[in-house]
């Protein structure tokens, strides 16, 4: 490996230029304000965590964790999501605070070995965790808040697919009671989104035709309310029925929130099996090929930190939302240049201070003689002012004789 060129960055790392930052900050502040209104208080946690605590409990697969060693040789990870760090805080610093606890965050997270060059290894997520409430209402709350957050971010056209990890587990368990290996293999196929392999595996299994039909039918369990009733035909198992009831309750609650139009039920929607335990969802925008938000219930995580508690939450993929909304600077701020000759320095600074005191103004000052004596001798002062006219919304010129002419651009 040769020495990197001075402008190079590690693979997957990105600079954010002012236009992008302005857009990002505006998304971040609107979304966090929305989350605060729902009672979620912001929290910040360190970028580095121990591999043995946060690393091993996170939903991110081991090979995608960004690992390093500290000066004592202990393995550290760059946080790959905010859920495990927040679980650690709730079980330690906040252990005496009564549940439920609602927390919000905006943070960069890290992933190693994204195979495509230029795919982000560091990206922003904005999300919430609701810890200590096992009810379907809590799940519906985070979904409704995800909808509100997407709208606050400026995404108008989106859809949400909702599944239920426990329910799918239960169905497979019931249909293939003594065949745990087959259950695992079917789940692997679903997780890989390999429906061809899923169907083929079912047909190769030595089970009755009605069970085969039911297993294949799982792929069709998509839609709205009707899916709830269709699922009840599927099972006699009490535990699975409870899961179905829970999913239907969430669906009803979403209707009460008035966000049902964005949502659909899709039982094939699944995630990491060792992590998610109940409801699980993803949000999609028509303008992007990847999900813009995801979340779900993870009732087993907190106990790994010594404070067993049910929990649910979601994260907006803020960097991807930025891709949808573009990186043009937000028009909320008016950029003003106060140009002055040295004799009017005092007036210029006073004028600038006055404007800075108003909302929505960004004011720069510049001595005119420095404009004239620019580095490029071929460029005239007029040419420079014309160029600056493109940058600034307004240029105020304080140039001697009069009290100061005002140039609007």
């Amino acid at each position: 490996m040769s020495k990197p060129k001075v402008f190079e960055k590690p693979s997957g790392m990105k600079d954010y230029l002012p236009g992008a930052v302005s857009r990002l900050r505006s998304i971040e502040s609107r979304v966090l304000a929305c989350m605060e209104k729902w009672g979620y208080r912001q929290i910040m946690t360190p970028t580095l965590e121990y591999y043995d605590t946060v690393g091993v409990t996170s939903a991110t697969s081991d090979k995608k964790l960004f690992k390093l060693l500290d000066n004592r040789g202990t393995t550290l990870v760059m946080r790959s999501d905010m859920t495990a760090p927040i679980a650690r805080v709730i079980a330690s610093l906040l252990k005496d605070e009564p549940l439920p606890i609602r927390l919000a965050y905006h943070a960069s997270v890290f992933r190693a070995i994204e195979e495509e060059a230029g795919r982000d290894a560091e990206f922003f997520q904005t999300g919430v965790e609701l810890v200590g409430d096992p009810s379907p209402d809590a799940d519906a709350e985070v979904i409704a808040l995800a909808v509100a957050s997407l709208q606050a971010a400026g995404i108008t056209h989106f859809k949400l697919a909702m599944g239920h990890q426990g329910l799918l587990n239960g169905l497979l368990q019931e249909l293939l009671q003594d065949r745990p290996a087959d259950q695992e293999q079917l789940k692997e196929r679903l997780l890989a989104r390999d429906y061809v392999g899923y169907r083929r595996l079912i047909r190769s299994m030595d089970v009755p035709a009605d069970i085969q039909a039911k297993l294949e039918g799982i792929l069709e369990l998509r839609g709205g309310k009707e899916v709830c009733s269709k699922m009840s035909e599927y099972t006699a198992d009490e535990h699975t029925r409870a899961s179905i009831h829970e999913l239907c309750e969430i669906w009803e609650a979403l209707s009460a929130y008035g966000v049902q139009e964005h949502a659909m039920i899709d039982l094939t929607m699944i995630g990491n099996f060792s992590y998610y335990t109940g409801m699980i969802f993803e949000a999609y925008s028509a303008e992007l090929g990847f999900p813009v938000a995801s979340g779900g219930r993870y009732d087993n995580l907190l106990q790994q930190f010594g404070r067993p508690a049910p929990a649910t939450g979601f994260a907006l993929k803020t960097t991807r939302i930025l891709d949808i909304l573009g990186t043009g600077e937000t028009a909320e701020t008016k950029r003003v240049l106060v140009a002055y000759v040295p004799e009017q320095r005092r007036e210029a600074y006073q004028l600038a201070a006055g404007l800075r005191g108003r909302d929505g103004y960004a004011v720069e000052t510049r001595c005119v003689s420095s404009i004239e004596a620019g580095q490029d001798p071929e460029q005239t002062a007029e040419g420079k002012l014309a160029y600056m006219g493109k940058i600034y919304d307004e240029i105020i010129l304080l140039a001697g004789e009069s009290d100061g002419g005002v140039r609007d651009e």
Partner: protein, 216 residues
């Protein structure tokens, strides 16, 4: 994204069979597209746009959402390992991935394997506990064992004629290959009705559905 379904189609061998299948399913696909040099073909009467891509690129277009769905061989899917939905086995362009070599060749200490499919080949040997050196080639793979570049090759076999003509033998079939209908994660949900309708139409005309072998 337009309302029309964007379909990444593999140029060449598979396209002829795929477009025939689409026509059999009742979709008004003109049959004279093969010779066209156009890369994007609008077919408003079918509510579709065809994106004519190099076969190995089809999963990439679909993963990134540049195309909603795509038609691609299982060989490419296995090699590229993209995050897409594999919805249907279209049963066309049937062939197999095989380990091929000279009939009586004793490899040295390091077994070298030449292939267009380095990921598929490495995985196959890893799973079989064999240590090999995989050499990536881009074409005329059969040449490698003949001139001593590699001991074996891993390649797609349709009729087996090329390997026979070059005095090679198929040592083992690694997996069966057919073309698949794949879908983007977002499109699968945002355009679920269109995609489901397409699946239903195609399902009726897929050839040899009972013959599906035992593959990954």
């Amino acid at each position: 994204m337009s309302d029309r379904l964007k379909i990444a189609m593999p140029k060449g061998r598979i396209y002829k069979q795929a477009s025939k299948l689409f026509r059999e399913a009742g979709l008004p696909i003109p049959d004279d597209l093969d010779d066209s040099r156009k890369l994007i073909i609008e077919i408003p009467e079918a509510g579709m746009d065809f994106i004519m891509a190099k076969p190995v690129d089809v999963p990439t277009y679909v993963e990134y959402g540049a195309a909603d769905v795509g038609v691609v061989g299982k060989d490419v899917l296995m090699e590229e390992n993209r995050d897409v939905y594999e919805l249907l086995d279209l049963g066309i362009a049937r062939c197999r991935m095989s380990l091929i070599g000279l009939p009586e060749r004793k490899p040295g200490h390091t077994v070298r394997v030449a292939t267009k499919y380095p990921n598929v080949a490495s995985q196959y040997f890893r799973e079989n506990g064999q240590q090999v050196e995989v050499i990536k080639l881009n074409g005329s793979i059969e040449l490698a064992p003949l001139i001593g570049l590699a001991d074996h090759i891993v390649d797609m076999v349709e009729t087996g004629q090329t390997i026979r003509e070059n005095g090679l033998v198929e040592i083992k079939t690694i997996f069966q290959i057919t073309s698949r209908l794949i879908a983007n994660r977002v499109s699968y949900r945002m355009k679920s009705e269109q995609i489901e309708a397409l699946c239903k139409q195609l399902q009726h005309v897929i050839p040899g559905q009972e013959l599906s072998g035992n593959q990954a």
